[in-house]
Amino acid sequence: MNQTDYLKARFEQLQQEEPGGNLAAVRSKAFSAFERMGIPTVRNEEWKYTRISGLFNKEYTLAADIAALSSNDLTTYQLPAHEEANVLVFVNGIFAEQHSVIRSAGISIQLLELAAKNEYAPIVAAHFDHSSSYVNDGINALNTALLHGGIFVHVAKNKVIEHPVYIYHISDARNTPVLAQPRSLVYLSENTQLQLAETYITIGGSGSFTNQVMEVVVEKDAQLSYYKIQNDSADASQVNTTHIRQTGTSVVNVVTISLNGGIVRNNLHAVMEASHAEAHLYGLYFQQGNSHIDNHTVVDNVVPHCQSNELYKGILDNNATGVFNGKIFVRKDAQKTNAFQSNKNVLLSDAASVNTKPQLEIYADDVKCSHGCTVGSLDEEGLFYLQSRGIPYKAAIALLLQGFAMDILEKIRLEPIRAYVTELIAQRLTAESI
């Protein structure tokens, strides 16, 4: 039996259970694409340094037994200020309504399958699966092919959503390994504000693989802040695609914090389709053990006068490996584009490594673009300076690394989340045996 036959069986089952409708056709097309392209290998330039084929050497559970999880099971994993937040819970990639709470007026949540048929159908039709034109590979197609239990989040016009939306992805791997494929489409109507914080938790020791696709549409005068915290166990891997379309003049601020996991691949796209849109993409990764972190970003300037700012900083210890690939497209019409990109890395061990690559494709002639990357070890002179003031070696390293991480942490404007991440890093540094 082929290693992926069970995926086909799942696809056929879903098509039978939920026949008809727009999404059945979308799934069908995506499954053909998956069969044609398969799981990306390192021969694919986009996957040159990230090998995920090994993750498909086993059969995963694709369904979710949501009833098997009690609210108590979830309490352990709550982010700070959970009580006030709007909460969305996914179990094994499937939206779990009974664990989710919407407190703020102005947000509505429903299954994508429903949204595709009701009054939101035009939005879904216009934006769902837009990401596949930017990541044209089998893994992205697989998420769409097995679409089930995904959600549509709608923020109504002129609504400032004061309380953040916390998104929890739980993989229940207590008995079997889990393949979770959460799928969301988030729509910020004109003149809205939304803050998202997202985290990933694998329960149990059988391991998990999360293949997430998150598509976001940001309309005119809307503001999105999006904080992604990846701190799952070492046997939890993920391919995480976040595709943001700025269809109106809007501001987007995304901070991706990656602290643990097996193989973690992030695709983050900002497609800037309206003049004077602003996108700020920040990332901090601090990996140990044999973890692998890969951040692929795309900033696509389609129209004139857009501004983007990218800063990714990484600390890699032990045998951890990292990849940064930052694409910036400036289309022919996108004059007066301002695009900045920087990736800075500190390697704490000889065995740790990083591959970093800026990739600029500029077709306009009146633009400001800059990029830079650095890879180095800890600043010895700084270390000596702190020691010479009485600060012990280990504490001095912790202070230097905290300082290094600071300008990313400062970009988290949701205070409880910033405090939480800062504390995670402080704990890591205290435990660090450099």
Partner: protein, 252 residues
């Protein structure tokens, strides 16, 4: 005796820089080490503070009764040795306040003392800020990042004031400073002086010594102290230049 350096030899990689230094400093004294570029002044400061790039190949250093060369840089600091850096290091993302608080409390921990409570720390910090004519905004910024030369050196002496060392080594603290900054720096150091602590000023020029008057001046040349005298020696050096020392030594 606070510091006793006996026949200290040290270098970097294969190169011998210090070729037998002898120096004794008593509590309450101010010593100055002068000398031409490349004579080994900064090497001496670095070796005393414990910079790892240097190898000590011979001799001994006793500080406050302890074998200094056996101690880690942080233990030297906690024992009461302070080095004001010639080029203070910029540390992005670490505020001066957070840094100095950590340093003060680590030193207290080493000495078996409780950490300072927030009120006591703040009071002490305000006092020392006033001494060095610094403001809160400066201390909230990343340590030395984007500081002017004068601000960096004032920050060094501020740290000295906070840590209250027994021996402060000022390595070319005057280099690159205008006269106002030199006055602030020297004034700060003078106010911190007492009968229990000592200062070792390392400088190329006599200028700083107008404000920070030394009891003893040593001339370092080619890895050795070749002349020791009173403060008048600095004036003589300023007037005649280092060539007169070189000629004197070379003619021996």
């Amino acid at each position: 005796m606070l510091l006793r350096i006996h026949n200290l030899q040290a270098g970097i990689e294969e190169k011998e820089i210090l070729k037998g230094i002898n120096l004794e400093i008593q509590p309450g004294e101010v010593h100055a080490i002068m000398g031409p570029n490349g004579s080994g002044k900064s090497t001496l400061a670095s070796v005393l503070a414990g910079r790892q790039d240097y190898n000590v190949t011979g001799g001994s250093v006793t500080f406050n009764g302890k074998d200094l060369l056996e101690l880690s840089p942080e233990a030297r600091a906690a024992e009461g040795l302070f080095l004001s850096f010639q080029y203070p290091v910029e540390i992005p993302g670490l505020s001066t306040t957070n840094f100095i608080k950590t340093a003060v409390n680590e030193v207290r921990k080493y000495r078996g003392e409780e950490p300072l409570d927030a009120v006591a720390f703040l009071k002490m910090m305000k006092e020392k800020m006033a001494l060095m004519e610094m403001d809160q905004a400066m201390l909230s910024r990343s340590l030395n990042e984007g500081f002017s030369g004068g601000e960096k050196k004032r920050n060094e002496i501020f740290q000295m004031a906070m840590l209250q060392p027994k021996l402060a080594i000022l390595d070319e603290t005057d280099s690159g400073l205008d006269i106002d900054a030199i006055r602030i720096v020297a004034n700060g150091v003078n106010k911190l002086r007492s009968k229990d602590n000592a200062v070792l000023v390392i400088t190329h020029y006599q200028r700083l010594l107008d404000y920070l008057v030394p009891d003893v001046i040593h001339v370092l040349y080619n890895g050795r102290i070749v002349k020791t005298g009173t403060k008048e020696l600095a004036l003589e050096l300023e007037e005649k230049g280092y060539d007169f020392i070189k000629n004197e030594v070379n003619s021996l």
